[in-house]
């Protein structure tokens, strides 16, 4: 694995901020199963007992052939003529054996289901968690639909296999093994005949397996593409409508659907052909058994004393025990390939390095209270991309209010991501109170540092549940206290359902501004020592804008705050302004000082802002002079 990982990341020397996701396609079947077992230890639990029961259950299958042989040779063909008493006794014994093996089969199946479902529930939940541990970059570049598939349909596929195909596999192996043993006891020569008849099939299975692996790999990829295509009319409903591109969208969907259909059908063709060979082998085996059986009869050309009519017929029955498993074997193989592909992908998720290693309990503690922030020669580049931040080297005083300004693409958002450790720097260190962020446990970090992102994503739940994302155990009183502290108590009271207001999918029942208010209450509840704000650029309802401004002001009190500012008014209000230009911090200082430096980057930004405000209104924008 490590070899694959390092190749993908390009180099092991730099921290791997890889955007790629391990698809697991390089994993062999054995490795997949081994890793799968490792990630779902429940699968291994009680496996021996289950196998023992499987062997006992398989015994049930040979009861009938043996009973037939006994009936023919000793019931019908007994020396003293037909022996009905023997037949009845033997029949009762055989019936008892069938009941016992049936019970074994019940226990085996129930155990298998339990182990499989428990193991896969674990795998599913683990993979889900790991998706959240992946770097933000990976979560973004990877299609979200595909990530969802990993923890839903891919796992279902494995589950489906383990409790259907896998169960059949266990039963089949047991059946063939027991049948072979019984055959060998009757006649090794006829056993050889049967095995020879099935040999070509066993040999060709490898070929079909390769073909199937290939074919099902294509199927899985097409499923991903198809799912992505069919999601467009759902997620982009309004755009499709307002641009009247329904036909084009449909054409793209149809194409993806057709490709998926063609790939599935091709895979099915291989499966069908390999499946049909089982029956041919069985015909060959039966013919061989009858012919060789006659040749082997005591007076035959190669006469042996042991050969009887009952034995030959028993073989015909025993051959049927091969047919089912061998035919289903190809089916099992199909399912297995399918499941293996799904399993690989899920494991691929788990094997994709989370990149940001959490020191956990070994982490250095962060003292509480306003935090001092230090950038120690920090540089950052996306993997394979140009550097977006060069040699940022500065310290921000505890409790200070800092605004980061710069043009779009200047690298100012990267600063927010590094500060909150959504990414690690490619060079240098980010230190909080002198502690390297990489040495702080995630739990500690998230308690001390909170990012209020640009877009206030909310979960489809109540308002209360959403703000509790900031602090899980917050009761209603605590939430109201936070809202009051931010001056939002009346806003909350004004909502018809207050804290029980349902916010809708992604919070869309609320306006963009209201979503921001919720995000601010959420941040206040979390009570961080360092607040990182990616200022919302969306201009919202002015009345709300005012509220947001006030709430922000209160939220920033008694904390260190770093705001990625999109408005210069924010910069005006800050203690210190960092001006980022083309990935470098080019200016730093209070607003008034920077604005006065004519010809500087900041003076340029400021001038265009003033002009823009002036165009809309004759009033002079609230200037620095009014700021205390």
């Amino acid at each position: 694995m490590s070899a694959t990982t390092s190749t993908r990341a390009g180099s092991t020397a730099t921290p791997r901020t890889s955007t790629a996701l391990d698809t697991g396609e390089s994993l062999g079947a054995f490795t997949t199963i081994r890793l799968g077992m490792k990630h779902s230890p429940e699968l291994r639990e009680g496996l021996r007992g289950t196998f023992a029961l499987a062997v006992l259950a398989s015994g049930g299958e040979v009861v009938v052939p043996i009973a037939v042989q006994q009936t023919l040779d000793r019931g019908l063909g007994a020396d003293g003529g037909v022996d009905l008493g023997f037949t009845v006794l033997m029949g009762l014994l055989a019936a008892a054996a069938i009941v016992v093996t049936g019970v074994a089969s019940y226990l085996m199946t129930a155990r298998l289901f339990r182990a499989a479902e428990r193991g896969l529930a674990t795998l599913r939940t683990k993979a889900f968690r790991h998706v959240h541990d992946l770097p933000l970059l990976t979560q973004n570049t990877e299609r979200r639909g595909a990530l969802v598939a990993r923890v839903t349909s891919d796992v279902d596929q494995v589950s489906q296999f383990l409790v259907f195909g896998g169960l059949l596999f266990v039963v089949s192996v047991g059946q063939i093994a027991v049948a072979t043993v019984v055959m060998a006891v009757y006649s090794w020569q006829l056993t050889l005949v049967v095995w020879l008849a099935f040999a070509p099939l066993f040999l060709s299975l490898r070929y079909f397996q390769r073909k199937l692996t290939e074919a099902y790999g294509v199927v899985r990829r097409q499923v991903g593409a198809m799912l992505s295509a069919v999601s467009e009319p759902v997620v982009g409903a309004t755009v499709v409508r307002s641009y009247a591109v329904a036909d084009r969208t449909q054409a793209r969907i149809d194409e993806a659907i057709d490709r998926h259909k063609a790939a599935s059908f091709r895979a099915q063709g291989f499966t069908a052909f390999s499946f049909s060979l089982g029956g041919v082998s069985a015909g060959l085996a039966n013919a061989g058994v009858v012919v060789v059986g006659i040749l082997l009869m005591p007076d035959g050309w190669f006469g042996t004393d042991a050969m009887t009519l009952g034995t030959v017929i028993a073989f015909a029955f025993l051959v049927t025990l091969f047919v089912g498993p061998v035919q289903m074997g190809t089916q099992i193989l199909t399912d297995a390939q399918n499941a293996l592909a799904g399993w690989r992908r899920v494991i691929g998720i788990l094997e994709t390095p989370a990149d940001l290693t959490d020191p956990g309990a070994d982490g250095e503690p962060l003292p509480s209270g306003p935090i001092e922030v230090t950038f120690d020669h920090v540089g950052f580049a996306y993997p394979g991309g140009r550097p977006v931040l060069h040699d940022v080297d500065l310290t921000l005083a505890p409790g200070s209010r800092v605004a980061v300004v710069g043009e779009t693409g200047s690298g100012k958002s990267t600063i927010a991501k590094l500060l909150t450790r959504l990414m690690d720097p490619s060079e240098g260190r980010v230190l909080l109170d002198g502690v390297d962020l990489r040495h702080v446990s995630q739990a500690d970090l998230r308690r001390s540092v909170v990012l209020v992102p640009q877009e206030g994503f909310l979960f489809d739940d109540t308002l209360a549940a959403n703000v509790r994302y900031g602090r899980t155990d917050a009761d209603e009183a605590a939430i109201r206290a936070s809202a009051d502290a931010l001056g939002l108590g009346d806003w909350l009271a004004g909502l018809p359902r207050g804290l029980d207001t349902r916010v809708g999918q992604r919070g869309e029942s609320l306006s963009a501004g209201e979503r921001q208010l919720v995000a601010l209450i959420r941040a206040h509840l979390a009570d961080p020592d360092l607040l990182v704000l990616d200022e919302a650029t969306s201009a919202v309802d002015p009345a709300l804008e005012m509220r947001i401004g006030r709430a922000l002001e209160r939220l920033m009190r008694a904390r260190t705050s770093v705001t990625i500012a999109h408005r210069l008014s924010t910069a005006e209000a800050a203690d210190e302004v960092l001006v980022v230009d083309h990935g470098r911090v080019v200016q730093r200082g209070p607003h008034a000082e920077l604005a006065a430096r004519t010809g500087s980057v900041y003076a340029g930004l400021h001038a265009s802002w003033v002009a823009q405000q002036g165009r809309a209104t004759d009033r002079v924008p609230s200037g620095a002079g009014e700021q205390g």
Binding site: M108, L120, S242, I257, Q268, I313, T408, A573
Partner: protein, 619 residues
């Protein structure tokens, strides 16, 4: 969370539905679903069924061949000790011939079944996605994304899963019929004994269905829930990550995953009991046949070959008979899946189009006349009708710019939805160049009007594809549009320029970049009316100013388009020739920005609120 989450609300409805369903005969419904598939793909079904019947007939022939070989070859050989070479060749020919023909049957059956299944899946997916594209926006807003995605994926698969074992099951039934005839031909008494097994297997199967179908239904619902949670959680990954909520999210997902596990284990236990029972039934029947058979041979009624044939028939039919179980076993999930698909397919609501076309050029004339709109009583908010827009009248003259200004919930976005005909008004009309929007032919409106929404949606396509959306535009035109939208810079910096693929929902770009791509999409069409619904909200004011400047100047080489903008920023409002001030669904003032500032205290308060806030905080 635990006290406030109510995801059950949605499910209760489904469960009630399913609860009623289970009492009805799921099996019958399952056949009805299959009937749909058969009517749609009669030829594929026929071929695969013929293949399967061929297979079944030859399986019975195999048993007959064994009986024949016993009586004609084996018994004489073993009793006389003589080997007849020609008979050995006959045995070989008969057994191999049957086997090869049977293989042909198998291939026909399976290839046919696969073809039919995939065709039906593709067909349903097309139908469902067509319906998604057809149904009005208002319908989409009422259904969770996860559910709609599940309908087109998991539900389609579940609905058509029984097709795979269908031909096999039909062939098995044919085989059973032939087997019964063959058994009666061998010996009436043995046949009657053997026959008890078929009804027993079928009845057991039905009982099994009854026990397991509610569990299957529940499992499918839980799978849909899992998908919904995963979608939402991954969508909000940023929030989850920055607030360190991974454990709680994992617990939320884990709870449903565990319930799914428990349901599956329970279903498994039921299956674990039935599978061996179904396997034991034919085996016990064989034993009975042996016992009775020996008695019959003793009495001289039949010979050994008949016993062998009947016993072998029961053995070979026993395995395929389970395929009927597989078929029926897929029914509950299939019926539920189909019903979910049906709910989408049967969803009513459409947007009828007229036949009017437009040949006008230059800026469009938009007239909004006495418009009223409200969300219906059936909304989730409890039924009281919220009048969203009332008596709204205004117009945008060709080439003019009108700004819509108003507080939250004043109805601005609803108004943009109405003028772009995402929804139709309850009263009043919207006219474009004098034609009611409802009279315009499909696609006509989009040729004249382009809207840029606040939340940009990007397709899983290249930058070029996302801008043109199939419009026949040259690269120069695309670049010009990107330039006007201030998107040329970052697009040029992308690895493959215009050919760079933008991922699902365009998440590899920032919100502001997405908005600019979405703006370029509108501009490349050279619309006669451009509607910006707060479309530059995620863009820096700096960049926004340049965009607005470009919007005013692109008209330099042609007639000026009419512009309707929803705006907050003064810079944007300042561009408008006229401002329409909306308050709680009504127009309260109209005029130029300066006029409104002077005439309306409300308006002044609204647009100055931001500055006011600044001043207050400054004190």
């Amino acid at each position: 969370m635990s006290t406030t989450t109510t995801p059950e609300v949605v499910h209760d409805e489904d469960d009630a539905l399913v609860g009623n369903r289970t009492k009805a005969a799921t099996t019958w419904d399952g056949f009805k679903v299959l009937g749909i598939a058969i009517r749609r793909e009669p030829w594929v079904f026929t071929i695969s069924t013929l293949g399967s019947v061929l297979f079944g007939a030859l399986t019975v022939a195999d048993a007959w061949a064994l009986g024949w070989a016993t009586d004609e070859v084996l018994v004489p050989a073993f009793s006389t000790g003589e080997t007849d070479g020609s008979m050995l060749w006959a045995v070989l020919a008969v057994f191999l011939g049957i086997a090869i023909l049977r293989a042909v049957g198998i291939v026909a059956r399976r290839v046919g079944a696969g073809l039919m299944q995939y065709r039906m899946q593709a067909h349903s997916r097309r139908e469902v996605s067509r319906q998604y594209l057809r149904l009005p926006v208002e319908w989409h807003q009422r259904h969770p994304t996860g559910e709609l995605l599940s309908n087109v994926n998991a539900d389609v698969e579940a609905a058509w899963r029984p097709i795979a074992p269908l031909p096999m099951a039909v062939g098995t039934i044919a085989m059973m019929v032939i087997a019964v005839v063959q058994m009666f031909a061998s010996d009436v008494v043995l046949a009657v004994v053997g026959l008890t097994v078929f009804p027993a297997v079928i009845v057991s199967n039905l009982y099994f269905q009854r026990l397991s179908s509610p569990l299957m239904t529940r499992a499918q619902q839980l799978r849909a829930d899992l998908s919904e949670i995963a979608h939402e959680s991954f969508d909000g990954a940023m929030v989850v990550k920055t607030l360190g909520r991974e454990p709680e999210e994992t617990a939320r997902f884990g709870r449903v995953a565990d319930e799914l596990r428990d349901v599956n284990v329970r279903a498994g236990r039921i299956r674990a009991a039935f599978d061996p029972a179904l396997a034991a039934l034919p085996n016990l029947a064989v034993l009975l046949v042996l016992g009775v058979g020996v008695a019959r041979v003793e009495s001289g009624a039949i010979d050994a070959g008949a016993v062998v044939t009947v016993a072998y028939l029961l053995t070979v039919v026993a395995f395929p008979i389970r395929s009927i179980g597989w078929l029926l076993g897929n029914f509950p999930a299939s019926v539920v899946g189909w019903e979910r698909i049906k709910r989408v397919l049967d969803a009513t609501g459409s947007m009828p189009y007229g036949t009017a076309t437009s040949t006008a050029t230059g800026g469009a004339h938009l007239e909004v006349d006495a418009l009223a709109y409200s969300y219906g009583t059936g909304s989730t908010e409890g039924g009281d009708e919220v009048g969203l827009l009332r008596e709204v009248s205004f117009s945008v003259a060709p080439g003019r710019t009108v700004a819509l200004v108003g507080a939250t919930a004043s109805g601005k976005s609803t108004l943009t939805s109405l003028v772009t005909r995402l929804v139709d008004p309850q009263a009043g009309t919207v006219r474009l160049d004098g034609t009611d929007l409802r009279d315009l032919a499909a696609g006509e409106l989009a040729r004249s009007v382009a809207v840029v929404p606040q939340t940009a949606f990007l397709f899983d396509d290249t930058v070029r594809g996302n801008v043109t959306l199939g419009l026949d535009a040259t690269d120069e035109e695309v670049w010009a549009a990107l330039r006007a939208a201030q998107a040329d810079g970052f697009v040029a910096a992308l690895d493959h320029g215009l050919d760079t693929r933008l991922g699902e929902r365009g998440t590899s770009l920032s919100g502001g970049q997405r908005q600019r791509i979405s703006l370029a999409r509108a501009l490349v069409r050279r619309p006669r009316l451009l509607v910006l619904d707060d479309a530059t909200s995620a863009v820096d004011p700096e960049v926004e100013a340049r965009i607005l400047a470009a919007l005013r100047s692109t008209a330099g080489d042609g007639p000026q388009p009419s512009l309707l903008v929803v705006a907050y920023r003064k810079a944007t409002i300042g561009l408008a020739d006229e401002v329409v001030h909306l308050d709680r669904g009504r127009i309260v003032a109209r005029g130029t920005h300066e006029e409104l500032l002077a005439a309306s205290v409300e308006y002044a308060r609204l647009v100055n609120a931001y500055e006011t806030a600044e001043q207050e905080e400054g004190r």
